[in-house]
Symmetry: C2
Subunit: 108 residues, 2 copies
């Protein structure tokens, strides 16, 4: 590192990153159960709570609880499919983050 | 989603992801101050505590405290440079994660 570094220039470099938006998503992803659920939804969009519970081996109650926060943020949406509510991951940043850690889609 | 989905196959899909390793890093990155410090170190490797404090506008005490955990994990290392301890981000996953959220290196 050079002695003539410019603190303001370095600060601008990280100020291009949306610190608050990303820390909020990192906090969400730091729960192992929720990360599993999101990886499951990313892999197979359009599952209902029972199916997510079946795939992830987490109880339906915990599935619903863990998805409450990402739903509240609009990062996961639920929609009616017949008598069931099905879930999709809609946040592009969370989606990109899951790919960055090696997640795949079904059929890939 | 097809009715004949295979829960075990979906489970294998996310089991290729290192859940514990990543949630540990996400937890670390979910603190806005620490994220700023890591972005700074990523941008300019080899700064000492005073320089990091100067660039990030965080007190030297908070810099040291916030880097304690990533140092304990070996994700950030400090080394002697004359009379100063200088810091580098050495964890490849944290490095990749910072790039995924738009971080750059100095000179890029």
């Amino acid at each position: 590192m050079q002695d003539d570094h410019d603190p303001a220039a370095a600060r601008r470099a990280y100020e291009t990153v949306d610190i608050d938006g990303w820390t909020e998503r990192f906090a969400l992803l730091s729960d192992p159960t929720r990360l599993r659920l999101l990886l499951c939804l990313h892999y197979m969009p359009g599952l209902n709570v029972g199916q997510i519970a079946n795939v992830t081996e987490v109880s339906p109650t915990v599935v619903s609880q863990s998805l409450r926060r990402p739903r509240g943020n609009g990062w996961v949406v639920s929609e009616k499919d017949g008598r069931e509510q099905i879930y999709r991951l809609t946040d592009e940043r969370l989606h990109a983050m899951l790919h960055a850690i090696g997640a795949r889609h079904a059929g890939e």
